[in-house]
Symmetry: C2
Subunit: 214 residues, 2 copies
C-alpha cells in the first residue's frame, strides 16, 4: 500500500511516516511479537502475541483473545502494532529525549482461519517466522492440535510504518551545552541455546547462529 487511508495517515511527526510495503514488510518480518488491540464490551484490550506475514496477510495467534472470539462470526476489528527498538536517543534536554524505533500499525477486520490447509500454512509461517527452518525440523502438528489452535488473518491493506533513526534533534541554541548527547544502540541479542533435559547433542545452526533480522 503506497497511499495512506485516513486511519493510517500518520498525524504526529508525519515526517517519520513510511507507507511503502517493503518497509512495512521488513518490520513485520523482523519483529518477534505484535500487540493486538480489540474492543471488548466497549472497552479496549491489548494483548501480545506471535505473528507471521505471508504475502499480503498477517497471521497471528488468536488464543489470547479467545474470550471474545466466540461472537466473531463476522470477524473482529483489530489494530495490530509491531515495534522494534533500535536505540536510546539521548538529547541535551529531556524534551527531545526519544527512542530510535521502527513500528508498524495495521488496521482491519481479522477473520478466524478455519480451513485446515490455510491454518496449517499459517502455523508453518508462524513457526518459521520465529525460528526459520524449525517447521521442517520438528514433529508435524497433528490435525487435532491444529483444531485446538486459534489463528486470525488480517489483510495488510491498511498499514503504515513509522521510523525514527539517527541523532537527537536538539534545538540549535542547546548545541553548545556541556551535556553528552548521542545514541545508545539497542539490539535483541540471542544467547547460547540451553538444551532441554535429555537433549545431549548440539543445537542446530539455525539456533546457534540465530539473529534478527533473519
Amino acid at each position: 500500500m503506497d497511499a495512506p487511508t485516513p486511519r493510517t495517515q500518520v498525524r504526529r511527526l508525519p515526517e517519520r511516516a513510511v507507507y511503502g510495503r517493503e518497509t512495512i514488510d521488513a518490520v513485520l518480518d523482523e519483529a518477534l511479537i505484535c500487540h493486538v488491540g480489540f474492543v471488548d464490551n466497549g472497552s479496549p484490550v491489548v494483548i501480545p502475541t506471535i505473528h507471521a506475514r505471508v504475502g499480503d496477510t498477517l497471521y497471528f495467534h488468536g488464543s489470547p483473545a479467545s474470550r471474545m472470539l466466540r461472537s466473531m462470526k463476522q470477524g473482529i476489528e483489530v489494530s495490530v502494532a509491531v515495534t522494534i527498538l533500535d536505540g536510546l536517543v539521548v538529547a541535551r534536554t529531556p524534551f527531545h529525549q526519544s527512542l530510535n524505533y521502527r513500528s508498524v500499525i495495521v488496521f482491519g477486520r481479522a477473520r478466524l482461519v478455519d480451513g485446515d490447509e490455510e491454518k496449517m500454512k499459517a502455523l508453518e509461517a508462524v513457526t518459521n517466522h520465529v525460528t526459520p527452518g524449525r517447521w521442517e525440523d520438528s514433529r508435524r502438528v497433528t490435525s487435532k492440535e491444529a483444531k485446538g489452535t486459534l489463528v486470525l488473518a488480517l489483510s495488510l491493506d491498511e498499514a503504515s510504518a513509522k521510523i525514527r533513526s539517527g541523532p537527537p534533534g536538539d534545538d540549535a541554541e542547546d548545541l553548545g551545552l556541556p551535556h553528552w548527547a548521542g545514541v545508545v544502540p539497542l539490539a535483541l541479542v540471542p544467547g547460547e541455546p540451553i538444551p532441554d533435559a535429555g537433549v545431549d547433542w548440539p543445537a542446530p545452526d539455525y539456533l546457534t547462529d540465530y539473529q534478527r533480522p533473519i
Copy 2:
C-alpha cells in the same frame, strides 16, 4: 493489587498469571516501551509509547494519542500492555513452540496530567526510567516545553502480570524424538554510545554501562 478483578483475571493458561505488585512493578520498570490501546470512534487503536511508574501510577506520553485527547475531559479508557521477551522456546513440535516473556496488562481510565508540578515530576520519571540519572545531567525542561507535552496518568489498581519461563512443555510421548529442544535466551543489549556531532568527550557511565533492568 493481589486479587484479580474480572478483567485482569487471566483466563488462558492461568498458571502463568501473577497478580503481585512486586512482579508487576519489576516488569513495568524494566521495559522501555508500552503499547497503549484505546477506542476511537468505536474502533481499536494501539500505539507504542514511553512510560514510567511512580508508586501506584503509570505515566506515559499521550502525544501519539493526541488526535483523540481533545474530547477526553473525563479521561480515556485504556488498556496498556508491557512485554519483555526473554527467549525462544524451541519445542519438539510447533504446537508447543512459544516464547519466554514477562508481560503486564493494565486497565483503567487514564487522566490527562495538567498540574505543572505533577507533569514535571512525570517527565522526570519518564526520563530517568529510560536513562537513570539523565534528568539531573541535562538542560531542564522549560515550562513552555512541558505545556507542549501531553502526559497521561493511569492507576495500577487493575493490573496483572503473565510470565512464561523455563524449558518447552512437550508432551511426554514426544520426549524421545530426535529434534533438538530447549531455549534460546534473548536480551535487549546496548551497544557503544554514538556521540552526536560536536560531542568530543566520553559518554557518561550511566550510558557506557547501560543495562536493563537497571
